[in-house]
């Protein structure tokens, strides 16, 4: 190999030798405040920075010119600490923050702006927060309200509901069965007289996710061990992941859960198996095209697992052409049903004619979109319903073909549940649709475009696709906070799906804060004890009962209440 080619393999972005990553010219670092230059201050965590600025003493003249500025800094740092981000450093790149962290930063910034009379609309701010930190988040929301703002929160967390002044419960079901106000009033009314509200029944304990009677036995021979994991803040820890069980990784924010699961375990497997990334789009999300790297010293027992699949909440597709049934590959079977109709055979239609993605049967005016986009020069593009097919996506000759009185467009408008009844005798179709219905997606329309699915829905569609593959054997499924966007009732369904995966020979590894999930786990690995530098160790591992009695574990304390120990 040519030397140059060889050396280029080691090229990449390296820390700037001039400023050592501090980004500033040297002159700027000659200026100090409280003994630190601005680069050193920026390297502090939000918690340390708060202490630094609180203890900063200014001379009387400096106070006169800078006290207001100092006040602003102190106030903002206090908010950032209060939303549970004390482990982030000031110079942390904003592009590397998780969705939840970014949201909470925005929340703290809004609070800093002291706007009055606004209406804040928030989407599940408790996601990614350990039960310990939810209380602080609630105080922030209350503070924002007391400034004179209206706060509208979409939320499933029990504690946030308890703190709310007013609760609106929508339902009763999902999709077509939802969209009605089941209840509107305060927490006490909801729990005393919820009027059939599903949320109310879960809150009062009338309905609940049960603690499983028995747990799966952990087989010590069936486990993968990661020795000396050192990614990010992990302190060279040895972790064993039992297989054929539901394993939950817990810990406060920043304790190293994601580092362990994503960087050590997922990347480690990929490095060992040299998988270019399981399931296309999941890997494509990662910004680096680097080969996966081993972030631990050694992996033992990796051969017990054949493939690793990360099921995350990224969208299943960015084009409106992708939809739930194309994703789980049920549409192929439906097209075959239509192509097998006598009328279709007479006209020599193949299953391909019933696709709206390839030329043949689709309406060529809108190319199967159902809509035509008109460019309006300076104004935003306008979408018009296609004049030729009237939004039905197919040529009229194709729509003539009917199965039990319905054409292919009608079928795309059905919900999963309707489809299940409609295709009753076609096992190839119902087998896959049933998977969608089982994990609580019975309300989705078959042709609903992927762009309109929520993150939680997308994740569950992916889950169904994996279940459909039916080769769960020796597969490790990794989920990062699968309860995002899920109501108590949906969590029960998700847990049922997990059981199914394990029953067919798979293993499930989950990062989760939700106590309902943690208490049903077979094995819990609690990281911490604190976030950032104070974390990265295993506080306790074992069954939920064993974790609950561990004094040092924050998770344990909350688990005790959930398990009623």
């Amino acid at each position: 190999m040519h030397v140059r080619v060889f050396l280029s393999r080691y090229r990449g972005y390296a820390t700037c030798p001039e400023c050592a990553g501090g980004r500033l010219r040297r002159e700027a670092l000659n200026v100090r405040l409280g003994g630190k230059n601005i680069g050193e201050v920026a390297a502090l965590s939000l918690e340390q920075a708060r202490a630094f600025f609180d203890l900063l003493e200014l001379s009387p003249e400096e106070t006169a010119i800078a006290q207001k500025v100092l006040d602003e800094i102190q106030r903002r740092l206090r908010f950032l600490n209060d939303v549970g981000l004390e482990y982030l450093t000031l110079d942390r790149l904003a592009s590397t923050l998780s969705g939840g962290e970014a949201q909470r930063i925005q929340l703290a910034t809004s609070l800093g702006s002291r706007l009055v009379g606004a209406c804040y609309v928030l989407d599940e701010p408790s996601i990614g927060l350990h039960s310990r930190d939810t209380g602080r988040l609630i105080r922030i929301l209350e503070e924002l309200r007391d400034l004179g703002n209206t706060i509208l929160v979409v939320e499933h967390d029990r504690d946030v509901m308890h703190a709310a002044d007013y609760i609106v419960d929508l339902g009763p079901g999902a999709g077509e069965n939802g969209g009605q106000v089941v209840f509107a009033g305060d927490y006490d009314q909801l729990t005393s007289n919820g009027g059939g509200s599903l949320t109310g029944r879960y809150l009062t304990g009338e309905m609940k996710i049960p603690v499983p009677e028995g747990r799966r036995k952990i087989d010590r021979k069936q486990q993968v061990r990661f020795l000396g994991a050192f990614a990010h803040n992990l302190k060279a820890i040895d972790v064993a992941i039992p297989l054929h069980a539901l394993v939950v990784v817990t810990g406060v924010s920043g304790s190293g859960k994601s580092s362990l699961v994503h960087d050590v375990i997922y990347q480690g497997f990929r490095a060992q198996h040299n998988q270019p990334g399981a399931f296309g789009e999941d890997a494509a999300e990662g910004q680096d095209d680097n080969a996966p790297r081993l972030e631990c010293r050694r992996i033992e027992g990796a051969n017990l697992v054949q493939q690793v699949i990360l099921v995350d909440q990224s969208p299943i597709g960015r084009t409106p052409r992708s939809n739930p049934i194309t994703y789980i590959k049920a549409f192929d079977a439906i097209r075959e049903v239509f192509a097998s109709m006598p009328e279709a055979r007479k006209r020599n239609y193949s299953p391909g004619h019933f696709s709206f993605n390839i030329p043949g049967g689709r309406c060529e005016t809108c190319q199967g979109d159902g809509t035509v986009t008109v460019e309006m020069q300076f104004l935003a593009d306008v979408e018009l319903v296609c004049e030729d097919c009237k939004g039905k996506r197919y040529k009229s000759s194709i729509l003539d073909i009917r199965y039990q009185g319905r054409n292919v467009h009608d079928v795309l408008q059905m919900t999963v549940r309707e489809g299940l009844a409609f295709f009753g005798s076609h096992h190839k179709v119902t087998h896959k649709l049933k998977l969608l219905a089982d994990i609580g997606l019975g309300y989705l329309r078959l042709g609903q475009s992927a762009t309109t699915l929520s993150g939680g829905e997308a994740q569950r569609v992916k889950l169904a696709a994996h279940l459909a593959q039916a080769r769960c054997d020796r597969t490790l499924y990794i989920f990062d906070e699968p309860t995002t966007g899920l109501h108590f009732d949906d969590i029960a369904k998700l847990l049922a799906a997990f059981r199914k995966l394990i029953a067919s020979g798979g293993s499930v590894l989950v990062i989760e804060h939700n106590l309902d999930v943690i208490k049903t786990a077979d094995w819990v690995i609690d990281l911490g004890p604190e976030g950032g530098d104070g974390g990265g160790r295993i506080v306790v591992e074992g069954t939920p009962e064993e974790v609950a009695v561990c004094e040092a574990s924050y998770t344990g304390r909350f688990l005790r209440a959930a398990l009623k120990i």
Binding site: C16, A42, A49, T109, C119, R145, G179, G455
Partner: protein, 354 residues
């Protein structure tokens, strides 16, 4: 607020079934329900979308054309809507310059604080860099031992032009000063003895500490600053004893001038503050340490430096072993090496890549 409720009538966005709802203002309101029950449709696609739309409508037609035209949500009426702010679970930042500090505006205030209240220190000797204000100088001089006598001088650039000397004389400065000797303009022949290759000063004043001297010192220092930007107090008793003060922002010992801190000096997004090598990114295209040393738990001996494990390049490791024998522990994992040891290794790696 005049209206106490946000009132929604006949919302039919997505799956909402003609929803009527009154939500109290200035309250914490939770919207809940099973997944897909229409929570987001109500909060984001109805309340937020309508508020946003009205806000945009209120702008001038010119401004509106740049904003995406927002379609009206399918709702009969929304009353008492406040300007909405959506805070979503999404990290949309892709900019490599954005950090937690800049995103929260903390950095903007930090820049201001460092510019106003930061203290500059000389990069060579570490002494405080500051301007000497006339008042500070006066206070310092008045604190000197009473009765001590001082020459107040300011330098003139050598070789001094004839014009400059005439000019000074016209302004009323009558004496020049060099190495303890004074030369008077009134006796021109004495000026011939001045050594113009050496620093030359103008004697602005002679003072003895004591009494009400303040105004005089202030006047003198001001005129020194006006002429030369600095003033020198030299003891009449001992030539070595001197006090320099300057209105310039410089290190008084090393005489290195510094720029006065301004907020932009601390901004890595401004050419005034950004590191000239990396333009404020903090990274440069170079060899990537994490690829050169993929596994820091390995020892140097066992191939911590990945490229040197190849037979063709083993000689570099051998060379390092010779040159750094005793200075670097070859049997310890790389991650346990001290910064000093790492520096020796890195110097060799650097050479390898050049």
């Amino acid at each position: 607020m005049s209206q106490e409720y946000l009132e929604i009538r006949g919302a039919r966005v997505h799956n909402l079934k003609n929803v009527h709802l009154r939500l109290p203002h200035n309250r914490l309101i939770v919207i809940t329900g099973v997944s897909g029950s229409g929570k987001s449709s109500l909060a984001f696609d109805t309340v937020y979308a309508e508020g946003q739309r009205r806000y945009v409508e209120s702008m001038s037609a010119y401004a509106r054309q740049f904003l995406e035209r927002i379609t009206k949500p399918d709702v009969d009426e929304i009353e008492g809507i406040a300007p909405p702010i959506a805070i979503r679970q999404k990290n949309t930042t892709r900019n490599p310059r954005s950090t937690v500090a800049t995103a929260t505006e903390v950095y903007d205030f930090m820049r201001l604080l460092f510019a106003r209240a930061g203290r500059t220190f000389c990069s060579r000797c570490g002494a405080r860099v500051k301007k000497d204000s006339v008042d500070e100088v006066a206070a310092q001089i008045l604190a000197l031992p009473a009765g001590s006598r001082w020459y107040v001088l300011f330098p003139i650039a050598t070789p001094a032009s004839k014009d400059r000397l005439f000019d000074l004389r016209k302004k009323g400065f009558n004496r020049l000063f060099q190495q303890g000797r004074t030369f008077e303009f009134s006796t021109p022949e004495s000026l011939l003895e001045i050594d113009f290759s050496k620093p030359l000063f103008v004697l602005a004043d002679r003072i003895a500490i004591g009494g009400d001297l303040r105004q005089r010192v202030v006047d003198t220092v001001e005129s020194c600053y006006r002429e030369a930007g600095e003033a020198l107090f030299q003891s009449a008793e001992s030539e070595a004893l001197e006090l320099r003060c300057s209105e310039k922002f410089e290190c008084k010992t090393c005489r290195i001038g510094y720029e006065e801190p301004e907020p932009r000096l601390f901004s890595f997004n401004s050419p005034f503050g950004a590191c000239p090598k990396c333009q404020g990114f903090g990274n440069v295209m170079d060899y990537d340490l994490s690829r050169v040393i993929p596994d820091p738990t390995l020892t140097l001996e066992h191939g911590a430096i990945e490229p040197w494990t190849k037979p063709a390049y083993r000689k570099f490791l051998e060379r390092l072993k010779r040159t750094a024998a005793g200075k670097v522990r070859f049997a310890a994992p790389y991650r346990e090496l001290t910064p000093a040891e790492r520096e020796i290794v890195m110097r060799e790696v650097q050479r390898f890549f050049e």
